[in-house]
Amino acid sequence: MELSETIRIAVSPTKVFELVDDPARYHEFFVGVTRWEPRSKKLRGVGAKFRVLMQVGSIQAGGTVKVIERTRPKLIRWESEQGIHQAGCWRLEKVDDGTDLTLDIEFDLSGGPLGALVARLAGRIVARNMWATLMAARRIVENED
């Protein structure tokens, strides 16, 4: 299941990047994510690892993810090393009046046809959380000095 949401934010990519590049602040705006804690000495950038959990229906699902790509102030990409097979990225694109911030999340539940059905149901939950996340991120960066 591949999900993508984009929001326009009226500040520069550099300022938006400061927020999404700081996992210590994810609890402020990453909706549905109940845990994003470092599992490596490196706290950000390529090679940094995190224990990640997201509330999906009755349970929390997640595992360990590793940042595999980081280009300032354009891109942060991660993928799972353990647990639910998942990948995601923050993409930032400069536009005339600010930044288009995109959040991509991809996950694979396996499980055949039943897995596909659950992916659709869980995908709705995750997509709503992603949109709420982008709105929260916009609120934060547009109101910070």
Partner: protein
Amino acid sequence: MTAPRAERISEEKKALIAGAAAELSARDPEFIRYQLPGMWLFSTIYFRAEVTGFDRIPEEGPVLFVGNHSGGNMTPDSMVFMLAFNTYFGVERPVYALAHSLVTSWPVVGHLAGKWGIITAGPKAAQAALDEGASVLVYPGGDVETHRPWTARHEIRFDGRKGFLRTAKDAGVPIVPVVSVGGQDTYLPLTDGRRIARLLKLDKLARLKVLPISLALPWGLNIGDFGGHLPLPAKIRMEVLEPIDVVERFGDDADSDEAYRYVTERMQEALTALAAGRVLPPLL
């Protein structure tokens, strides 16, 4: 001279496999991963489960989960727990659940249960799993508790069984209590039939202390629950409690009556609080 740890464990495993008690290698992480979506549907849509407290479980190392058992032979609480554990920590972190030999010895059900990590209940099986660094889920009350009557649905009923304390003491692992409500609302257990079971000598014949009588789908009057039943969509609430290090707290008396009372009372407190959160049983 003492054999190296790995060699000793291997010898223990061989001995236990001969008794079909600890088929630890039957656990199949990819099979579990494949089954998780279906379990999620049951848990989220059918039972509308609420699971809390998983953040209290140590991130690494073996623990002994001690749960209260409900729902007759269908045990929706086990299903919700196994789903929640495998999605929270990933199928890579092994957990085994101890079950009655009637479950693990069924031709098809026993085979599938083995893939999930369900092994025949027994102290040696639990010890072997814990020695391998896996966690273990045990329901000390077993058949006595899961078939308790509906009027006792919010009671911890371990029937004085303290084997779980000895297991935790011998393995040096913390106990993590898990309580849940709602399982006894998935059918209507009328009596556990302990007297009838005693009269029929079921304990000696099949290690059964009870012969439950219930009202359940699709049977109507359901005697024994041997064929299972169709569980009603009652809401399941589950809470994982703070770990209890019985060795640290009770020392050599970690398997004493006092330790037993402490653990069961702690669980009863939490279960009563969880039950108090229900507005209108069984669906809310």
